[in-house]
């Protein structure tokens, strides 16, 4: 999948979205940014629900919209799926009716699971003949996802589809998304403002702030950019480690918050923490909040730890010193 937005500008009320990027990916691309940065508007624009003021949108070489040439492919003919945050199931149809709606309208040439197959895959077979009004938030989300997969889109957009889930169910959903993308060969663009979700899902990443796309590229590169931390809350500041740094982790990457990393000046022994990395202090930065951010260069990559100035003095952590970073598995 190759998606290109060139100097695309959309205005909705007082809000202005400006996007210029190119993304090539067969997996999951995360659209990340704080609330109100224009993520949902970007998805709606790609799907054709907003009209471009200037610029163009091209998917796999096909021009979907070009404000200058005044061409515009309507939403229903774009072949782009969109899972809304509020699911938007059809209230007059059963669960089966909702999924079959998509099945009946997809082009014959495109391969995708049938209603019963996807229901089995997403484990809602028992709900198939129920009216949608009785479903829980999580169930609605799964049905909406199933419906979108069955419609066999060339690109599937998801607007915080897991906002209603938490804990283990949210984890499972994220794993499921990546598996579905791979199994069904559907490239996905997923909006989230949760840094953990972003790190876990993203192979590619687009970051947004104040209605502008500020960076795009591989998740590792984008999340390592100096301006990336500027998108985060103070307590979320940290680093992305690739999943390869953590054995047995089914994710693209993991976000390690500076707050959840302990530092030790000697190799720790006999502790319960699962993850210990040896490294060299690369930098020590004092924060405005009277805390200190220590950056440790390890084999897994840079790791950030937030400690107090007193701890810094006790451990004598200067640039170049050797130290160990310790992270509890539950913190990841």
């Amino acid at each position: 999948m190759t998606l290109v937005l060139r100097e695309a500008v959309v205005r909705r009320g007082g809000f202005r979205l400006a996007a210029d990027f190119e993304i090539a990916s067969e997996g999951v691309t995360v659209v990340f940014g704080p609330s109100g940065s224009g993520k949902s508007t970007l998805l709606a624009t790609i799907a054709g629900l907003n009209r471009l003021e200037t610029g163009s949108v091209t998917l796999n070489g096909r021009v979907l919209e070009d404000a200058f040439r005044k061409t515009r492919v309507p939403t229903h003919a774009r072949g782009i799926g969109l899972v809304f945050q509020d699911a938007r199931l059809f209230p007059h149809l059963t669960v089966r009716g909702n999924v079959a709606y998509a099945e009946g309208r997809r082009p014959a040439a495109r391969n995708a699971p049938l209603t019963d197959e996807i229901a089995r895959r997403l484990e809602f077979e028992a709900l198939l003949d129920r009216p949608v009004r009785n479903l829980s938030g999580g169930e609605r989300g799964r049905v909406a996802l199933a419906r979108a997969i069955v419609s066999a889109p060339e690109l599937l957009l998801l607007d915080e589809p897991f906002a209603a889930l938490d804990g283990k169910r949210r984890r499972d959903y994220l794993v499921l998304l990546r598996e579905l993308s791979r199994e069904q060969g559907v490239p996905m663009m997923v909006v989230t403002h949760q840094i953990d979700d972003a790190a876990e899902l993203a192979a590619q990443m687009i970051t947004m702030q104040d209605g502008r796309v500020i960076a795009h590229g591989s998740a590792g590169d984008v999340m390592a950019r100096p301006d990336f931390l500027g998108l985060l809350d103070q307590r979320d500041i940290g680093v992305r480690l690739p999943a390869s740094a953590l054995a047995g982790r089914n994710a693209e990457g993991v976000w390690v918050r500076a707050d959840s990393v302990l530092l030790a000046s000697e190799e720790p022994r006999g502790i319960s923490a699962r993850h210990v990395w040896r490294g060299r202090v690369a930098s020590v930065v004092r924060e405005a909040a009277a805390d200190v951010l220590v950056s440790l260069a390890t084999d897994a990559g840079y790791i950030l730890s937030r400690i107090t100035p007193e701890a810094l003095a006790d451990l004598r952590l200067e640039e170049g010193a050797t130290a160990w970073a310790v992270v509890k598995a539950h913190a990841l």
Binding site: H76, G81, F84, D86, R88, F90, Y101, A102, R133
Partner: protein, 258 residues
């Protein structure tokens, strides 16, 4: 009046079976005279046809009026509401001018299709349809406007084009309003007087509906009894219609409430 044939067996048959054997038609037949039955069936026929004629047009108007804005919207809105404020006699007269035997359109209908509207039940139905039109448009339009537009977006990202969306989401979701509009228009149609009598006249067995018959009976000395009985029939029919509309709407709303 003869006693109900079906009640005679009540002592030997279980009560439920006796009730079933005694269907509604027998009851009505036993309670009404042949003339009253004729008038009632003319009324039901005229009102029913009126609903059939106006429903598709009302749906189209309601749909157009529920859209955000387009040139000519206020003109359309005015046209839809006009029968509400015009004197019914004037509506009948305008229909006569437009569709009467002397008018070009009326003459063409007669010569090409053999359709005559004046003095026929079809004519009465058209007059009734025009009068009930605003009620119907209003009910359906409210229903269209009450639907979450997000649902249509959801349909369009599942590859449903505009027509497809209309048939698969807009109309089924507005179904309670369409139903309520139709039933209300039907009940109101039973009471239509001025436009019908002006355009289609008062022909027994063809265009003489309940209100026309009541008027005729009141104007005939010694027919007060008949006028009263017809008025009661009219009242029962209208109330039944309204209650039915309310029940249908409640049922449909419950079914759709997510």
């Amino acid at each position: 009046m003869t006693s109900l044939a079906c009640t005679g067996n009540a002592s030997v048959l279980p009560a439920t079976m006796a009730l079933r054997a005694c269907d509604g038609r027998d009851m009505v037949r036993a309670m009404l005279t042949a003339a009253e039955l004729q008038i009632l069936s003319t009324s039901l026929g005229v009102a029913g046809r009126a609903v059939l004629f106006s429903l598709p047009v009302a749906i189209a108007f309601a749909w157009a009026l529920s859209r955000r804005s387009f040139p000519g919207k206020s003109v359309l809105d005015t046209i839809a509401h006009l029968p509400l404020v015009l004197p019914p006699v004037l509506v009948g007269y305008m229909l006569l001018l437009g569709l009467g035997a002397q008018s070009p359109l009326g003459a063409w209908l007669k010569s090409s299709f053999g359709i005559q509207l004046v003095f026929t039940a079809e004519g009465a139905a058209i007059a009734t349809a025009v009068m009930a039109f605003p009620l119907m448009v209003r009910a359906i339009r409210l229903s269209f406007e009450a639907t979450d537009p997000g649902i249509f977006e959801a349909a369009s990202v599942l590859r449903a084009g505009p027509w497809d969306r209309f048939w698969s989401t807009t109309l089924p979701l507005a179904w309670p309003g369409v139903l309520a509009g139709a039933v209300t228009a039907f009940a109101a149609g039973l009471g239509e007087f001025g436009a019908g009598i002006t355009f289609a006249s008062n022909v027994e067995g063809e265009t003489q509906t309940l209100p026309l018959a009541i008027n005729a009976a009141l104007n005939t000395p010694g027919r007060d009894d008949m006028a009263f009985r017809l008025a009661m029939i009219s009242l029962v029919a209208a109330i039944t219609g309204l209650v039915l509309a309310e029940m249908l709407q409640r049922w449909a709303r419950r079914r759709l409430d997510a």
